[in-house]
C-alpha cells in the first residue's frame, strides 16, 4: 500500500487489549506446576477498534479522563507497543515524551544527551552542535557530568524536555509535558511552542490543560473508555470533555 506523503500516521482498525494475569509469577517453574491450571487473566480493553489519520505538520490534541486510553494510544501510534489488530503506518522517526522517560539514570547528562540524540537519528556531529543549547535550555550548567540519578526529578524532566525540543523527531508525541519543572521553566516550555519550533513537525499532544489544547491544536480527539468519541473541532472536543467531568 502506498502512503500519501502528506500523511504522517495512518491507522486502520487498530486496537490493544492487555491481558493482566492476577498472579504475578512469570516463571518456567510456575508454568510447569500450573500446566492444567492456567492463571486467571483479566482483559482490559485499553484501546478499542479505531481508525485515524494524522496529516504532516498537524498538531492534534488528545483529551479525556484518566484511564481512558490516551497514553496507550500514543504508545501504539509511536510504535513503542505493537497493535493487536489492524494496520498502522508511521511515516518518519517518532519520539514519545512524558515524565522521566528516555534516559538512563546510570548515565551522566552528557551521555544521555548523546545517546538520546543518537537514538532520535542525529549524528554525533549534529549532537555536538546542539549540545550547549540543550544544557542551557535545561538550566543544567555545572551538572553536565553528573549522573541523572543524583538529579532532582525536576532537573531530569527539564533535561528530557530540552533534548526533545532540540533534537526532536518528525513526529512528536508529548504526553503531559507542560507539567515539567517550576513555573519559570513551564513558561519557557510554552514559549518554545509559541516560537516556530512546531512548524513542520507533526505533534500529538496529550494534556489536561484546556488552555494548552485550545491554543495549539488544530484538531482534538476526545476519548472515553478506550474509544474516540469525537475527533475534529477543538472547541467541541473540549465541550464534551468538560461535560464528561461534571
Amino acid at each position: 500500500m502506498i502512503m500519501d506523503e502528506s500523511l504522517s500516521i495512518v491507522a486502520k482498525n487498530i486496537s490493544k487489549t492487555f491481558h493482566i494475569s492476577e498472579d504475578s509469577h512469570n516463571t518456567v517453574k510456575h508454568r510447569l506446576f500450573n500446566l492444567f491450571n492456567p492463571p486467571r487473566r483479566k482483559k482490559v480493553e485499553a484501546v478499542k477498534m479505531m481508525s485515524l489519520e494524522v496529516k504532516r505538520g498537524e498538531c492534534i490534541g488528545f483529551i479525556g479522563r484518566n484511564g481512558c486510553g490516551k497514553s496507550t494510544l500514543v504508545k501504539l501510534l509511536s510504535g513503542v507497543y505493537p497493535t493487536d489488530t489492524g494496520y498502522l503506518k508511521i511515516n518518519g522517526s517518532t519520539m514519545l515524551m512524558n515524565l522521566g522517560v528516555g534516559m538512563s539514570h546510570e548515565l551522566t547528562a552528557r551521555e544521555n544527551i548523546y545517546v538520546s540524540g543518537s537514538v532520535l537519528g542525529l549524528k554525533i556531529k549534529q549532537v555536538d552542535a546542539i549540545f550547549d543549547k540543550i544544557i542551557d535550555f535545561a538550566e543544567l550548567d555545572g551538572f553536565v557530568d553528573t549522573k541523572i540519578k543524583f538529579f532532582s526529578s525536576g532537573m531530569a524532566a527539564r533535561l528530557g524536555f530540552s533534548i526533545a525540543v532540540n533534537a526532536g523527531a518528525d513526529i512528536m508525541f508529548l504526553d503531559e509535558i507542560f507539567a515539567v519543572g517550576d513555573m519559570k521553566f513551564q513558561e519557557k516550555a510554552i514559549r518554545v511552542f509559541e516560537s516556530s519550533w512546531i512548524e513542520g513537525k507533526t505533534v500529538i499532544l496529550i494534556s489536561h490543560s484546556m488552555d494548552v489544547i485550545r491554543k495549539y491544536c488544530n484538531r482534538t480527539a476526545f476519548m472515553k473508555n478506550g474509544a474516540i468519541e469525537y475527533m475534529g473541532d477543538t472547541e467541541k472536543a473540549i465541550e464534551l470533555y468538560t461535560a464528561d467531568n461534571q
Partner: protein, 255 residues
C-alpha cells in the same frame, strides 16, 4: 538521510564499556584481573592437586577461559538486557538488535584486551614448544564464530526472559554444564574419549579446541569442527532473530 546506525552502535558500546569498567576503583584492571584470578584458581586445582600433565598449562587454560568468559558475559550477562536497556526503545521506534550488537562489541573490547595479555604471557612467560605463526590469524574467524553464537543465545535468552523470569537460573545450570563438559581444563584426547560428541554439542568447545590448535600447536584448525561451529552459530542466530522479531515488540509492555 544517511543512517547513523554504526555511530550509534559504537557510542552505545563505548558507554557500556565505560559503565562496566570505569565505575570502580581498579577500572580496566578488573577486565584482566578476573580471568587472571580464575586462571590462578584452576591452575592450582588442576595442575597442583589433580596433577594434570598438559604442557604450558597456564596458557592452555587462559585461552580457553578468555573464550568461555566472552560467551558467559554475552549470554548470562545479557538475559535482562531488554529490561536494563528499556530506556533506549520505550520512547522511539529504534531497532532492538542494535542494543545487542553494542553490548557484544563492548564485551569484545574486554576480549581483545585479554587476548593481548594472553599473548604477552604466552610469548614471554610460558613459551610452548612451537612458535606462534600466521596461523594465529585464524583467531579472527574464531572470534566471529563465538560472537555470532553468543549473539544468537543472547537474543533467545532475553526474549525468553520476557515470559519466564527464571530463565537466568536455568541458563546458569547449562553454562555450568558447558563449562565442565568442555575442553577448558582437560587434555583434548581425554575429553574426547570420556565424552564423545561433546565437542559438537557444546557451543564453544570446538572454538576453544581450534583456538589452541592455531595458536599453541601451530597447525590448521580442524576444518570439520570449524565448519560445524559456524553452522551451529548461524542456526542459533537465526532462531534468536526469529524470536526477537516475534516477541521483542512485547518487551516494552511486559517488562
Amino acid at each position: 538521510m544517511q543512517s547513523n546506525k554504526f555511530e550509534r552502535i559504537f557510542l552505545l558500546a563505548k558507554i557500556e564499556f565505560k559503565l562496566r569498567y570505569y565505575e570502580n576503583q581498579l577500572g580496566l584492571i578488573w577486565a584482566v584481573l578476573k580471568p587472571l584470578m580464575e586462571l590462578g584458581i584452576y591452575f592450582v586445582v588442576f595442575k597442583t592437586i589433580m596433577k594434570q600433565d598438559v604442557p604450558a598449562f597456564a596458557s592452555f587454560l587462559f585461552i580457553g577461559l578468555i573464550f568461555y568468559n566472552f560467551f558467559l558475559e554475552s549470554t548470562s550477562g545479557t538475559i535482562q538486557i531488554l529490561r536494563t536497556k528499556k530506556y533506549l526503545y520505550e520512547y522511539s521506534n529504534m531497532n532492538k538488535i542494535e542494543i545487542y550488537l553494542s553490548t557484544l562489541f563492548s564485551n569484545s573490547i574486554g576480549f581483545l584486551f585479554n587476548l593481548c595479555v594472553f599473548f604477552i604471557f604466552y610469548l614471554f612467560f610460558e613459551p610452548g614448544d612451537t612458535n606462534v605463526t600466521w596461523r594465529a590469524l585464524y583467531l579472527i574467524p574464531l572470534y566471529i564464530n563465538i560472537f555470532l553464537v553468543s549473539l544468537g543465545f543472547s537474543m533467545i535468552l532475553s526474549t525468553t526472559f520476557i515470559y519466564a523470569k527464571d530463565i537466568h537460573q536455568i541458563w546458569m545450570v547449562f553454562t555450568n554444564l558447558f563449562f565442565f563438559v568442555s575442553p577448558i581444563f582437560y587434555r583434548l584426547s581425554t575429553f574426547r574419549e570420556s565424552v564423545p560428541g561433546a565437542d559438537y554439542i557444546n557451543p564453544f568447545a570446538g572454538i576453544i579446541i581450534n583456538a589452541r590448535k592455531v595458536v599453541m600447536d601451530n597447525v590448521d584448525p580442524e576444518w570439520d569442527l570449524f565448519a560445524f561451529d559456524f553452522g551451529y552459530a548461524l542456526l542459533i542466530l537465526l532462531i534468536g532473530l526469529l524470536l526477537l522479531n516475534k516477541f521483542g515488540a512485547k518487551a516494552a509492555e511486559k517488562l
